[in-house]
Each structure stands twice: as C-alpha cells, then as structure tokens.
Symmetry: C2
Subunit: 414 residues, 2 copies
C-alpha cells in the first residue's frame, strides 16, 4: 500500500449509511485462508477441485460457438428467459413450483440480499433474523439501519416459540420481514424441523409476516428426508432466494429471487441501477450446464466428497476437542457450529489458532450485537480430509491450552 | 404474466428509498429494441458482431485449462490482482498512471456508480451533474435522495462558468461531488475542452470539490487529439471510473473505480455486501484477453466500424432531418444528441416513431427533472449502415409530420 493510505481526503463527505458498513471477519479471514501454510476452516468455499474441468470447458465452448453475440452483449435486467426456465427446474428438485416470470436473476444471491434490504428497510425498522445468522445477510441489511431482533436457534432450527413471544409483546413494532436459512444453516448447520416450519407459516398468517427464505444449500443434503420449503407452504408469504454458487459454481455469480411479480419488477428496477444486468456469458453457461445431465452427476459427486469430509470432521472433533465442547451434526451443507464453555472468547483466541496454522470464524461474526463469543464456525467442504484431521487436532490443542489457562486463573466458572 | 401481478402483497412494507426508484426509459426501450422489425437508435450497445468469436473462445479455453479451480471459485472482493495490473495498462493508454492497489474491480461500472452514490449521498445532499447526463448515473444516485444541480453542456462540454456561478451563490450548500463524463458524453456525444478541464480542476481546488470522472468511451476516439483525463490533472480530487464494456465486452460485466486507498477499502466493504465479488471467470477472461495484442487490434476494428456508422448517421441527419434540427458531431463514442425546435416533445413523439418502426431515447430521460423534451439520443454503434440510413429517414419523416401539425395549429412559436 502506498503512503497516502494514512490520509483519507474524503472523510467529511461520507454518507450516514457508510458509517454503518463494517468489514466482516469472514473477509479478513479469507485473506488469511489464502496463505498456503494455514489449514482454514474459515471460508465457505465449495470444492471446485472435485469438478471436471473438461465438462465445464465444453459447455463454455458450446455457448460461445452458438451464442457469441449474445454471450458478450448486455442482457435484460431480469435475466435470460431460458435460464429462468432452468431455475424453475432446479427449484422443482426441492418440490417447489414456480413460474419464470416470478424469478429475477441476481449477481449471486448476495445481490438479492442487498436489493431486499434496500427495498424493505428504513432506518429504525425492525427485522427478525436467526441467532446466529448468515454474516452476508447481516452486512447486506446493516447499512439500511434496521433494528435487528435475534431469535435463537437450536438443533431443530429457529426457536419459533420465542419468535411468537416476541411478536406478542404489546410494544413491539411489526417486523418488516423474518430472514431464515432453513436448510443446513450458515453458520449453525442445523435444519428447521417440520413442526417449526408449520408453526412459522401459521405465525406468518396470524401476524401478516413476510418471510425471506434463503436456501443456498438445500440440494446439498447427504442423508435424511428433505423438508418442504417455506415457499411451497405459503408462496404469498415468502420471498425465496436461490443460488448456483454451491451446486454449480460461485465463480459465475448466478443467484435468483423468486417473488410475486410486482416485487420482481421493483427489485429488477433497483438491480438495473445496481449493475444493469448479470453477465450474459455466465448466465448462458449456467443455462447450458443445467440443461445437461452432468449437473446432477457432478452434484452427487460433490455431495459424496462433502459427506465424507463432514464425517471426518465429526470424528476428529470427538477425538481432539475437549469433552466440554459441543457441536452440531449437519445433514448437509458446508458448516459445523462448535460451542465452547461460556467463558471462551473465540475472537480473542483466533490469533493463537492462526499461530498454530489453523483458522475458523469466531461466533461473534454471526450476531448483530457481536455476542456468541464462545462459538465458532467450521467449514468442512473445502479442506481435504487429512487437513481436516490435522486442523481439528491443532485447534483442539489451542482450545485445551486456553482451558488450562482459564482454569489456572480460576476464570472458568461459567 | 400471471393474474397476481394486479395485487402487490408487500406494498405497505416498502422502504422510503424504494419510492425513489423509477424504471428508466432506456430499460423500457431496450425491450422495444429487441423487436426485430424496429430500427433502434435507443440502446447503447457495442457491436459484438464485429468481434472474432474464435479469439474469444481461445482465450476462454486457456483460462479454463490453466486456471479452472480459480475461475469457478469465489474471488477477493477487490478483484484479481492480475486483472488490476492489466487495468493499469489500459488506463496508461489514456496517459493515466495508477497503482493496482488503488483499483477496485466492479460488476460493470454501473456498480461503481451505485457504490459511490451510497458511500457519499445522504438524503437532501447536493450533487452536481451535467445536463443532459448519463441515465444510469441518475438511476444509481436517485434512490439516495440527493438534490441534483444540473449544469448545462455545450459543444465544449460542461459549462464550467455556470458551475462557478453556482458554487459562488452564497446560500448554496457545498456539493458532495461533481459527476462528469468528459469524453464523448452519454448522451450528448460532446467532449470536454481542455480549457474547461483546466478550469474545472482549478474550481475543484478552490472549492475543495470531489470530481467523479466517468470515462467509458475515452478509448473509442475516431479522430482528433485525446484530452488529458481529469484524474491525471488532480488525482487527489478525482475518483475515476472505467469499464471494459465498450472496449472489450459488456457481457463480462467488468468495470473499475480508481480512488485513494482508504476510499477503495470503503467501497470494497460495501461491494462485499452488494455481491461479495465479481465473477472470477469473467475477470480471468478479461485479464487474459488484455494480455494479448488482439485486444488493440479488435478495438481498432470496432472503432473503424463505429466511425463509419457515425459518418453515415451524420450524413443521413443532414439529408433527412429538417433544417430546424441541430445535432452534435462526436469525435468518438456511441451517441449523437439531436435537438429539435423547443416546442417538440420527443417523449410524446416516441409512439409515433415506433409506429414507423424506428426508436430513440427521448431527452427527458437524461435530466433529473425530466426537462429536455426537445432532444433525443441516437445510438450509431449498433445498427448497420443501411439501417442507420433507413432509420434516420423514417425518423425525419415523423419529425416533419409533427412540425406540420404544430404549424397548422399555430403551436410552433418557441
């Protein structure tokens, strides 16, 4: 960096909203994860190394040879009609029925979160999120200045009973929306139980709630029976977010929103001012790839890699983490959520872990008020199994050492 | 569209900002332009048909075979280091010197406009724009609720003397920034004269102004001597926006901002919440393409096509438009700006033109207060020459008919 980084000439010009923007811990960690000597459980990366380059190359070649002038041109803001029809097919894999005209293609589902935040949130508005929740949703909503109400999770997903309590408090203003990641939640790895889904949709009817259902991992189920989506249960209550980042590739930045037509129109108008349109080249690649059987075959192969890495991580946690620790047992997705005794501060412990060449995301990143310090998010999709074993072993050692220190100082009474 | 479009279930939930979002006329016209029987001067599309598919295909193949796991993975929010170094080389073609760490890669330069609007503008803040100005900048800034001061253009670009008057008015609050498109302006096609650039930078020093220099067309000069960029003249006063949309392809959505490091950091943090990162596949394609001599050869060939189409349009305007009309003579870029007698309303005339199978963008789209009704923007880069001739002939006929009507009603006293 050059010397002028010291002086910011524009400080006095910045907007109020810009003061609400914070660099996320995930971001800072992704740069750490890039260092090859560190075993990182910190990212949320799919394992691209498990995919066949020649198949991707062939699909790209077909796109360019058959649709060159379209692929390299501007596209319509709503996204390619052909791709939206394919996305309808993808959603039908989870039992969700949809129409292409209810879909807006976005530049990753992160853009959908950003557009939704801007369309719905005024400063001071209440929104409801899970605790812990997806850090990218936090960073998308935060600049709009909402008051965030956090509803805790357990192994069955959001504690909908606590949401009900919150909604029934006489003085509570009605929330603009309730944001949930029902399948293999990021960061907690838990899946919302059928009974919770039922009750959430009942509450939505009773209290006229809008639900934002973010479902990036639904098709990454390793075992067990899929739960019906919230959008299937109450299409007029739910804005549904999907993405190809975890089931095809994040490098093409293709996500989508499914919503009633008037909201799609509103989101599209805002998307137009946000980036005009998503890449036609990437959309046409996605469309062509999803039009061939290889996508399901490759997804199965990815899932079997992830399942195996999850198993290895669970086994290693049992072996190397102290008995005081607990962790979730995800049936799919990318993440395990580990909980240490309450006196732990995983944010403070992170530099010690990095010193021992292992990284994770501290729990504080996933709460709007930076609580959750005794938790950590562990990603199992990216590191190979020998690294999973080695990394959890290193991390277990760091944790045990911290426990000893706390114990010797008499600070372990939580 | 399904029946539920009639009913918007979320009306009561929308944010204040969302009420400031309006669908642009360009957008509505792009859908008209898609109808094959209409000759459209309405878009702003580069002519991809003039580029060699096999060269693009070869570069893409190289990217996938050499960098598969990176191309299809998430990337860093700031953009690929290798691409940022190439963009430094692209900027040096216009005499601009830069460092990669002062560059943030964006998803098209439209995203840069969006991020800048959000970082700088609070509701009620004054910003200065040219009149007419780029419609995408208007739509990016408008949701933030600024008060937009418009400074007229003439054939030498922004009337900097009028900006000076505005700045010297005792009661005027200091603007957050001054947004300009100095080269082959969209929509007017005019280029800011050296003397105006000099004076603008003096004013920036005198009044401590931040200049947003948007330069998508600088390298599309057909003739004449390039003017030094504003960023070269006063790097600490200028945030510079570039894009590959017009010199490589808009289908890859690669733009960039050059700014002091602290602002790059702030914009990157906001970009992270907007779309996490731009497509690695597209960035790697851009990097590889710009690393080969073909990019300059292809750019020369594009320029010669555009120059020829511009010449044909200028000639056709002279032949088919009434003597009361005037138009600009751009030395590059994509657009000619035509001015009809003051009593004309080109927005009202548009349906008549479309009936005659020709389209343009009415001048009102390019002013924040929807004035400028007697102007129209004409794109010459996309339609082939025989269409340019035919389309201008049709448009001339529509205009003459309107003039006759106004004359017969005695309404042509402007």
């Amino acid at each position: 960096m050059s010397p002028e980084i010291i002086f910011d000439p524009y400080t006095k010009l910045y907007s109020e909203a810009s003061t609400l923007i914070r660099s996320s811990e995930i971001r800072d960690l992704l740069s750490v994860a890039g260092r090859s000597d560190i075993i990182s459980f910190g990212g949320g990366l799919p394992y691209i190394g498990g995919l066949p380059p020649e198949e991707f190359s062939r699909v790209l070649n077909d796109v360019v040879s058959e649709g060159f002038t379209q692929a390299f041109q501007y596209g319509e803001t709503e996204g390619l009609e052909t791709l939206r029809s394919r996305l309808v097919e993808v959603m039908s894999e989870e039992g969700l029925s949809a129409e292409p005209e209810h879909i807006l293609v976005t530049t990753g589902s992160q853009q959908a979160l950003d557009l939704i935040g801007r369309i719905f949130i005024d400063p001071g508005d209440v929104i409801v999120m899970e605790g812990p929740t997806y850090v990218g949703a936090l960073s998308a909503f935060r600049p709009e200045g909402p008051r965030i109400v956090t509803i805790p999770l357990d192994d069955m997903g959001m504690r909908v009973d606590l949401l009900e309590e919150e909604l029934k408090r006489g003085d509570a203003p009605a929330p603009k929306f309730v944001y949930v990641v029902p399948n293999f939640q990021n960061p907690a790895g838990v899946t919302m139980h059928k009974s919770r889904r039922d009750r959430l949709m009942e509450l939505a009817d009773e209290h006229d709630l809008l639900i934002i259902e973010d479902n990036p991992y639904g098709l990454l189920r390793f075992e067990g029976k899929p739960e019906e989506t919230l959008a299937s249960r109450g299409p007029h209550r739910v804005v549904y977010l999907g993405t190809l980042s975890k089931i095809v590739s994040p490098g093409i930045r293709v996500g989508w929103v499914m919503a009633p037509a008037p909201l799609v129109e509103k989101l599209a108008t805002l998307k137009q001012s946000a980036d005009l349109c998503s890449s036609n080249l990437n959309q046409m690649f996605a469309e062509a790839y999803l039009g061939q059987d290889i996508w399901k075959k490759n997804l199965e192969s990815q899932k079997s890699i992830y399942r195996s890495r999850r198993d290895t991580m669970l086994k290693s946690l049992g072996k190397y983490f102290p008995k005081e620790a607990r962790w979730t047992h995800p049936q799919g997705g990318l993440f395990i959520w580990a909980t240490l005794p309450e006196y732990f501060d995983t944010a403070k412990m992170l530099p010690l872990a990095i010193e021992q060449k292992v990284a994770y995301v501290p729990g504080t990143a996933f709460y709007p008020d930076y609580t959750g310090a005794n938790h950590m998010r562990l990603n199992f999709s990216f590191p190979p199994e020998e690294q999973v074993i080695q990394g959890i072993k290193r991390l277990g050692k760091v944790i045990r050492k911290e426990m000893e220190l706390y114990h010797s100082l008499g600070l372990d009474h939580s």
